[in-house]
Amino acid sequence: MVCIAAFIILALIGIFVAIISIFKPKVGKAYLKAMKKAWGCLWKKVRLQKCETGFKDDVKNTLLSRVMLKHPGWVRPLSIVIEFLSIVIVVVAVWALLTAIKSLLALWALGSCNVTKPSACTMGAEMCSIDEDEPKNVFEATGRWFTEWGEIFEAIPDKFRTYNIDDYGFAYIMVGDEDENKKTAVDIFDPGCLVCMTSYKNQKAAGFFENNNVRLVPFAIQGADDSYKFKNSEIVVRYMYAANKIKSEYAIAIIDKIYTGKNHDNYSYQDLINDDYSKEDTVKHLETWLRNAGATENEIEGIRGNAKSQEVTDIMARNRQIVENELRVKGIPTMLYDGQKHTGLWKAE
């Protein structure tokens, strides 16, 4: 919202001048003249030079000179009101300009104009965002405004770097056998994320998994308070890593069922896992799908135990560190491919 408001304010000024200039060239010229004068005065003040009468004074005097002749006593209080309003306008204008710049920079560097809540930016890529805490008061909001600048500037060099997949020690699930003649891609996704599901379907339809060495990195998005964005993603991810220890096909079968499968009432399993199933229901379905994929009862028991293990916990913590801090990913799906980092919905070219 904030970034849109800032864009609107700046755009309105520009549109206002442009429209006036088209229909009323004289008024438009006068407006531009006033703008030039205002800028001239501002530029003088920026350089600590004196400006005897500025745009603000011209406007103020035009308004108050009428009052002065009829109600001289009102001049002083009205003058104070105009001064206050002019300060507010300047503060809002400066804020709007800086926020617009910040949003544009964030959109370019991070893929979203909203640094704290990336999915709230309608101009950014479609994604499931890794959100930060909402500020609780004006002081926190002010502090956040400044720290966001830091995040943006930190992310700028990333735009110019080449990502080498092997520099990151991801735990991953390999789709098929590795072929040295194919390019390698890392695909970070959350089982509960709708955009990830769409991406997966697009990739599958385009033969992306057959044409590339794809390393799947299941990732359960967590907020600043460590709670999970999608309630059952954690257990799904745990089962996928545990299953991968026995056979990668078991893990792939789980995600394939979640992203493409439907129950007898034609509801998508992703929706059911996100909204309807309890953790126990989810586990029950995961184990059924493993069984259907050919896993024996012994293997399922092993997977069940391994899913709770410290080893899987460590894998998930390590992946989170890489995703959030080393790659500074603001939303998923995110892919590392061709030396670049791509965040958002994957579309077949």
């Binding site: 005897e52 009468t53 004074d57 103020k60 005097n61 035009t62 108050l64 000179s65 009428r66 002065m68 002749l69 001289p72 001049v75 002083r76 003058s79």
Partner: protein
């Protein structure tokens, strides 16, 4: 006054210190030049040119007569304005013949900045003298040895005069210096202060003297001895060879060309002649009217506790500010009532802003065109604003 018959009812013009209104005879003289003898002056043989030459020559004589100076000693040259005149002189002065340049604190930027630029360019030290409240200079406080002194003889914000101009002239000349007077504000209503005083140069603007826009330099012929040639071109030479030239100014008859490079504003010069004629013939009652208006307005402003009047005594030029009110705002309000007055620092930033710390001021500069009803209107409108 019928010579300002173009002034509408209720229109009160109070900015004569910048641009005086032109009386009908002056406007007629300019129109006459354009419609009856438009020509290139001082270089042609045809009829219209001769008419122009006669009028221009007559104007030079009228200026000297107005200032009570003799043509044997002085020459009148025309230029753009006072600032241009002062710069023309200072830019050509041989700095090695002098020890320093001096000006005063109440100067218009015209001499103030020109002297500053001169000092920066030549390396000669610059001294800013402090003028007394009455406008005089304490001569004992300053050493004028080989000094270039550039000062006004009437200020442009309160009209205070250089009361001891005669003593200053003697002191400067005795010490081997030269005295250049900015008479821009004196010429219209206080010319007596400079009349007959044998300074080295007087610079003034005809447009503050009920004449068209024009600058005038009245200069002592001896000044030429301390001038280099730095500004030269058309209309200034008798002969030109590949590598040398002969200045027309070497002959007394054409000495004025020393500061007149290129073609001049002949129509405006003719207009100045008409303005001087008009002033000479002006009935005494018109001067008495100006004096009365000045006194009445001064008393009115001086009587209000909220008005901070800069003037110590009545003068057609008076500046003030009203406690708690922005002068630009007051100026705008007055303008809504057709009262036209200047606001700001009137190019006297150093003294008014930096020395005195005044806020921007309002300046009323009365002229011979102002009617008693103008003063009544000012009192009525301003009275409402003040109270």
């Amino acid at each position: 006054m019928e010579d300002f018959d173009y002034l509408g009812d209720g229109e009160v013009y109070l900015d004569g210190a910048c641009q005086s209104l032109r009386p009908r005879p002056v406007i007629d003289a300019i129109n006459n030049y354009y419609s009856e003898h438009n020509s290139c002056g001082e270089r042609v043989k045809y009829k219209w040119g001769r008419v122009t030459d006669e009028k221009v020559e007559a104007t030079r004589e009228k200026v000297l007569k107005f200032l009570k100076l003799k043509s044997k000693k002085y020459t009148v040259s025309f230029t753009l304005n006072t600032t241009y005149g002062i710069n023309l002189i200072l830019n050509q002065i041989k700095a090695d013949k002098f020890n320093k340049i001096m000006t005063s604190d109440i100067e218009h930027n015209s001499p103030f900045l020109a002297s500053l630029a001169f000092s920066e360019r030549t390396g000669l030290p610059r001294e800013v003298m402090v003028r007394n409240d009455d406008g005089s200079i304490d001569l004992k406080k300053y050493d004028f040895k080989k000094a270039i002194v550039v000062v006004n003889c009437a200020s442009n914000f309160d009209g205070r005069k250089l009361l001891n101009i005669n003593e200053l002239e003697k002191a400067v000349h005795k010490a081997g210096g030269i005295l250049i007077i900015d008479a821009a504000q004196a010429m219209a209503h206080s010319a007596d202060i400079v009349r007959g005083v044998e300074v080295d140069a007087i610079c003034f603007s005809a447009h503050k003297l009920y004449a068209p826009s024009l600058g005038v330099i009245v200069w002592k012929d001896e000044l030429d001895d301390v001038l280099d040639v730095r500004f030269i071109g058309g209309g200034m030479v008798d002969d030109v060879d590949k590598e040398k030239y002969v200045l027309s100014a070497n002959n007394k008859e054409h000495r004025y060309t020393r500061f007149e490079s290129g073609l001049q504003a002949w129509g405006e010069i003719v207009g100045l002649g008409a303005a001087l004629d008009w002033l000479e013939k002006l009935p005494k009652k018109d001067w008495q009217n100006l004096e009365k208006n000045t006194k009445e307005l001064f008393d009115f402003l001086n009587s209000s506790k909220k008005v901070h009047l800069i003037n110590k005594e009545p003068n057609p030029t008076m500046s003030f500010y009203i406690e708690g009110l922005d002068s630009h705002l007051v100026g705008e309000a007055l303008s809504r009532e057709n009262i036209m007055a200047r606001t700001g620092y009137f190019c006297v930033h150093y003294y008014l802003d930096h020395v005195k710390g005044f806020p921007p001021l309002i300046r009323f500069s009365l002229g011979l065109h102002n009617r008693p009803e103008d003063i009544e209107k000012i009192k009525k409108v301003l009275g409402k604003v003040i109270n």
